[in-house]
């Protein structure tokens, strides 16, 4: 019950913040559009990084095809809104106008998530038989296959990109879904199923010998992770109102991995930190123009030398600060004592 109350609190808080940022609540106090956009993209990055951490960090299966599932979510939900959004909106005539748009968005995001999950299942079943480098290469390949496949569908714009998507996503929805992603991943990791995933990361053969159905567990984790990436893609499309397959190349997958790795594999708060840090650095270094990416990679190299385990390592932010020993029932792989 407590969690629903706090969820309601978070929702209300996001709603007020959204109003303030958009300038509709307090006149003359709107956030600069550029900052607001960066903030929203950071929220989408949080969803992506936390969901990828479930498979890369906790299950230890190195996947680098996350952008592909994001693309499926983006294109599927955008196609739904563009094609059926108007019809659904008139069918929902009994609702107030702003609620209609939000229902359309939620339906579109659900469709994007389900399709990304299905794709995740079909990619995951054959790929997750492989380990380490081989899995990485295969998921990279599948990510690119998905992108090139979409690039050749004329109904969603092909190489021209897909435009004319209504702006249904905003600060409120982006952070509501980021929060939901964190909650879902946190609960999975802190459950018996999460223990199973960490056991697979630690020693797959021993996990199997302890009665764990390792293939099933890995595929489930992969499907959940893909579905959440699909949601992030849907928000991305409905926020920027235009998507192009160039946004979903393997570079995007690498960006998400960088976020997870800087924050610390196997740390949810680390992924959040990594996502925010990543976008702050790439945006903050813009004034250095052509030296931007040089500086960025230098920073990454320094970080990898100073803290190869990521900023938070395996720990969560709270344990990282207090350095206390974890209590019974705390998440596997989040020990406070080294």
């Amino acid at each position: 019950m407590k969690v629903w109350l706090s969820a309601a609190g978070v929702f209300a808080g996001l709603f007020v913040l959204n109003g303030v940022f958009m300038g509709s609540l307090v006149p003359g106090l709107a956030m600069p559009p550029y900052l607001l956009q960066v903030l929203c993209l950071a929220g989408i990055n949080i969803t992506l990084a936390v969901s990828l951490n479930l498979i890369n960090g906790f299950t230890g299966q190195f996947s680098i095809g996350h952008a592909g599932f994001m693309a499926i979510g983006a294109y599927a939900s955008a196609y739904f809104t563009v094609t059926f959004g108007q019809a659904l909106r008139s069918a929902l005539g009994f609702l107030p106008p702003f609620a209609r748009d939000n229902v359309v968005l939620l339906v579109a995001l659900t469709i994007g998530a389900v399709l990304a999950a299905i794709a995740g299942f079909f990619v995951g079943v054959p790929s997750l038989r492989l380990r380490g480098d081989y899995l990485a290469i295969v998921t990279l390949g599948f990510g690119e296959i998905i992108r090139v496949f979409i690039l050749n569908i004329d109904a969603v714009g092909g190489a021209r990109g897909y435009s004319g998507i209504p702006k249904l996503a905003n600060f409120f929805w982006i952070y509501a879904f980021a929060g939901l992603t964190i909650l879902v991943v946190y609960r999975i990791v802190h459950s018996s199923f999460g223990r199973t995933l960490v056991a697979i990361r630690e020693d797959e053969i021993a996990a199997e010998a302890m009665g764990v159905h390792t293939t099933r567990a890995k595929v489930i984790a992969f499907v959940v992770s893909s579905a959440l990436a699909g949601v992030a893609g849907g928000l991305f499309a409905h926020y920027l109102m235009y998507v192009h397959t160039n946004s979903f190349t393997f570079l995007r997958s690498f960006e998400i991995i960088i976020m997870v790795v800087i924050g610390g594999l196997g740390s949810i708060s680390g992924s959040v930190l990594g996502a925010v840090l990543f976008i702050s650095l790439t945006e903050g270094l813009r004034e250095f123009a052509q030296y931007r990416m040089v500086l960025f990679s230098l920073l990454l190299i320094v970080l990898m030398i100073v803290r190869p385990q990521g900023i938070l390592g395996h720990k969560e932010f709270v344990t990282f600060l207090t350095k206390r020993r974890r209590s019974i029932g705390a998440a596997p792989g989040t020990t406070g004592n080294a």
Binding site: S191, I205, M210
Partner: protein, 243 residues
């Protein structure tokens, strides 16, 4: 069991009654670990049959065989190093749990009860193995002897009726191996399970096993009670070489 043209284990007949302490010994490369891997489903036997409680288990997945009641430890310790001692045992309990992904995400009352029960039972099990004071320690930080004990505890958490121990006394000092012998005997008496033991430490094998089975080059050379095995000329030849 054959790998290409090599017979790793050939025409092995091995029957373990419930509650029996059965020792499997043999010189290096005799095929003892292969026998383990065939029973636990790591390898599918190229010919022959494996029956457990009347049903065939040959060629089934490891996880399934474990859930049917056969658990094992590993020759080279395979604990979940980064996880706590308690979580190592909890993972093994999970194979009998009814929780699913949905109940975990919604954190239903049934799920919380189940978690509390597993936590409690895991701690009880750790107490039996005198590991409860280390419950929050990471498994990889444990001393060697404790890691061995934890591996057995973890295998016990799957509630097996046949326990396979692959060199549990390896690397233990004489004091620790004496304790281990008491522990193995105690587990058998308390839980009434059958135990198949592979071990090089003859003091342990001869001290606790009721029947000893000797393998050499993948074939049986002797079966019998320890006292008889120790006098068997073929066994002496296999270990010490012919006169």
């Amino acid at each position: 069991m054959r790998f290409g043209g090599l017979f790793a284990v050939n025409e092995l007949d091995l029957a373990i009654a419930s509650g029996q302490l059965y020792g499997l010994i043999g010189p290096n490369g005799a095929g003892k670990t292969t026998v383990f891997n065939v029973i636990t489903g790591v390898y599918t036997p190229t010919s022959g049959e494996i029956l457990f409680e009347g049903g065939s288990i040959a060629g089934q997945r490891c996880g399934r065989i474990t859930r049917r009641g056969i658990a094992r430890t590993f020759q080279n310790i395979r604990l979940f190093g980064e996880m706590s001692v308690l979580d190592n045992v909890k993972v093994a309990f999970d194979c009998r749990q009814a929780t699913t992904l949905t109940t975990a995400v919604l954190r239903t009352a049934a799920h919380r009860e189940e978690e509390a029960r597993v936590g409690h039972e895991s701690l009880e099990l750790l107490k039996i193995f005198k590991l409860d004071h280390l419950a929050q320690e990471r498994a990889k930080n444990l001393p060697y002897g404790s890691q061995r004990r934890l591996e057995i505890a973890r295998a016990m958490a799957t509630a097996p009726r046949l326990l396979l121990l692959d060199e549990p006394a390896a690397g233990m000092n004489p004091h620790e191996s004496t304790e281990l012998m008491d522990l193995i005997r105690w587990i058998r008496d308390r839980f009434g399970m059958a135990i198949l033991l592979v071990e090089h430490n003859m003091k342990v094998v001869m001290g606790i096993c009721e029947t000893v089975h000797v393998l050499d080059y993948g074939s049986t050379i002797a079966i019998g009670p320890p006292a008889q095995i120790q006098r068997d000329p073929k066994v002496i030849e296999a270990y010490l070489g012919g006169a």
